[in-house]
């Protein structure tokens, strides 16, 4: 009897699973890290990502097409991330888009995605040169790269000094996580240093970054005018505590967006007051409409992924925004390939390449005040080169700058040069204009 019940149940389950597959729901896989050394930063991002997808479903899906979301924990391990990618890419009729959330996994998947015809969104991280869509057909570093962040931070410092020409002779120190992630901004900063004649000092910190005594001793000796922080996880709070201990003014420290969220500063609290960080079109906006929608339609229904307090925090917003870009790409693809229809990864790629999110659309989505319009093209997979800087006041992050635009004159040649080198190493040819139309 019991065995028969089990058999019956499994047959029904299999049948209903089959029926779901026929309904063709859009599958968004997730590769978060909710465990391991970087979990404090990974969890809010993943919760924001998952909550936003739930919100889209609660609002009726993408023109009626519902979303399935499934996670596979990577713990920020590249080998594990590759396994997760292989596991999820074929599920539920095929993955729409991957967001690897790790520089190492991004690099590994960049080699695999073209073969599988699945686009990669690396919003704000990953390979900076993948902005060049003529060579990186499947990579989308939407709304920002590390080069953009570095450029905006240099501009912010220049503004504080009273102009780019005032940077001459200044000393700027980069304290970075010793990994591809931390090294990304170096080539741009060197370019800028040569242009404006400031002195760039590079201080790597070994993973995971709890031991920075020697680094800050060097800073105390060199007395740089500004410190840029490219840290991550526990490295950020350690750096801020060391800065406090050595008496380095926190208001002369500027972090990248991975160094500028609540988990990075809340242990230091008052000690981090005045510390600044770049935000790439995200940031704590607890009063924006999307936050209210998520609270009302997801959390109040008891379906929230994480604790309620974190909704609207910096990295949570980053996750929600990344999810929004992923969803809007599919919506854009539906405009071409059939409204209310399921789209393949290849079709979704077209959507990401032709994103046109103007202010009106952003307002309708509830992102008014959170971000600026995004429009991508074949040549530009980034879509927007604006960013803001926010400052920690001891309790929360407040925006302390206007929207700043990265200097294309600096960024573009660097992107072209590095992408061309990648193409040469991989024997790739740039996409033709005809291919761009497809």
């Amino acid at each position: 009897m019991k065995i028969r019940n089990i058999v019956l149940a499994s047959v029904i389950a299999a049948a209903s699973a089959g029926a779901f597959a026929q309904a063709k729901e859009q599958f968004f896989p997730g590769l978060p890290y909710r465990t391991g050394a970087y979990a404090p930063n990974g969890v809010p991002w993943a919760n924001g990502y998952s909550d936003y997808l739930k919100l889209v479903n609660a609002k009726g899906g993408i023109n009626g097409v519902k979303i399935i979301y499934e996670e596979c924990e990577t713990a920020y391990d590249t080998a594990r991330g590759v396994e997760c990618y292989e596991r999820l890419k074929g599920k539920h009729g095929g993955a729409t888009v991957f967001q690897p959330l790790s520089t190492g996994i991004t690099f590994a998947l960049t080699e695999k995605a073209p073969g599988d015809k699945i686009p990669l969104i690396t919003a704000g991280y990953g390979r900076s040169e993948s902005q060049d869509g003529t060579i990186f057909k499947w990579n989308f570093p939407l709304v920002g790269t590390y080069w953009l962040a570095a450029d905006v931070l240099v501009q912010t410092i220049a503004k504080k000094e009273g102009g780019l020409d005032k940077l001459k002779g200044k000393k700027i120190t980069l304290v970075y996580h010793d990994s591809p992630y931390g090294k990304e901004p170096i080539s741009l900063l060197q370019e800028r240093a040569a242009m404006h004649g400031f002195n760039l000092q590079l201080l790597p910190v070994a993973h995971p970054g709890v031991d920075q005594k020697a680094t800050w001793l060097q800073i105390r000796q060199a007395k740089p005018d500004y410190v840029l922080l490219w840290g991550w996880g526990v490295m950020n709070s350690t750096a801020l505590k060391e800065a406090q201990a050595t008496g380095y003014p926190r208001d002369k420290m500027y972090g990248v967006w991975w160094s500028g969220a609540e988990p990075d500063v809340k242990d230091v609290g008052e000690g981090a007051k005045g510390y600044n960080a770049a935000t790439m079109q995200h940031g704590a906006e607890p009063n924006s409409k999307v936050v209210k929608d998520i609270l009302a339609m997801v959390h109040d229904k008891g379906q929230g992924t994480g604790p309620k307090e974190e909704v609207g925090q910096v990295l949570y917003m980053r996750g929600a925004m990344s999810a929004m870009l992923a969803v809007e790409g599919v919506r854009r693809a539906q405009e071409r390939f059939g409204k209310g229809k399921w789209v393949t990864g290849e079709q979704a790629r077209w959507g990401y390449e032709n994103l046109a999110l103007d202010q009106k659309k952003l307002d309708a989505l509830g992102f008014a005040g959170v971000m600026r319009p995004v429009s991508t093209s074949c040549a530009d997979h980034m879509g927007s080169n604006w960013a803001r800087v926010h400052t920690w006041d001891g309790k929360k992050w407040n925006f302390s700058s206007d929207w700043l635009q990265a200097d294309e004159q600096v960024l573009k040649p660097l992107v072209k040069k590095t992408a061309a080198k990648y193409a040469e190493d991989h024997k790739l040819t740039a996409r033709t204009p005809a291919d761009c139309q497809s």
């Binding site: 909710r34 690099f107 080699e111 010793d178 990994s179 992630y181 090294k183 590095t418």
Partner: protein, 358 residues
Amino acid sequence: MFYRENGQFKTTYRADQQIFPIAQDRWAMLLIIAAAFVLVPMLSSGYMFRAILIPFLIMSLAALGVNILVGYCGQISLGSGAFMAVGAYAAFNFFVRVPGMPLLLALVLGGLCASAFGILFGLPSLRVKGLYLAVATLAAQFFSDWMFLRIKWFTHDAPSGSVSVSGLQVFGIPIESPMSKYLLCLSILAVLALLSKNLVRGAIGREWMAIRDMDVAASVIGIRPMYAKLTAFAVSSFIVGVAGALWGFIYLASWEPAAFSVDLSFKLLFMVIIGGMGSIMGAFFGAGFIVILPIFLNQFLPVLGQLVGIEVSTAGISHAELIIFGSLIVWFLIVEPHGLAKLWSTGKQKLRLWPFPH
């Protein structure tokens, strides 16, 4: 009943010195190899190849290399990750910098560079032993981390320090599909496993084992410790280096030094300890245990949770996986301290008496 050597008479020394003197073993091994080459490619899916079989084969190869050093020669090493890294980066540099470099040659050259690196960091083994040597080899790990992060030349001046390869082919056959990658790894593994099995059976292997069991006694009977230890380092690092190059080229395709971190060194040592020290078979068991079991647990736990009606969170699964995996390691080591390979040989021993045990 079936597994018994009654009636198999050996009339020549040659027959007595075979790798598998018992006919059943010989047949079973040939069948396994044939199945791995023919049956598995016919039955496996892309996921199976890319996420399970290829990492399993490459890690088996690496564990095999480490086993030669740790299991056969008794030199505990925590630098295996570094030897893999040297193999991978050396092969990468040969492959990228020399135009028209064939893949197989690049892999072998990578292995040879790892071998040289291994000999260099094996030198302390002439003076220090046991745990002290483990600490000394750890230096190799930190040195390689530093070298590949700092010296730009090794990473072909990539701005982020991450390297990648593409356009792989062997004798004109492109290594693109998961099956071709699998077959390439399998062929290399089969050749190197056969080679090392013969090495450990031969004079040099006996020297290694003599050194392992008691180095003073070994030198008294005329074995040169320096020669024996350094050859073990060289052979082991060569195999580990080739495995590292495969890990980078075939499995990851793009990698950073963190892919060969100290974690990997520990994992490889665990593979050898759990699989069985001083056993070629043990390397395969150990790699299977460390590579496949966590992935299996990760996929099996949510299904189990659904059966009893619990939705397990992603973090919950990940934590449960670590807990179960850790306790299994402890359990296996208590039940069978000589590793899974010992279970295998006990099983074979039992099978000989079956069905009439005395």
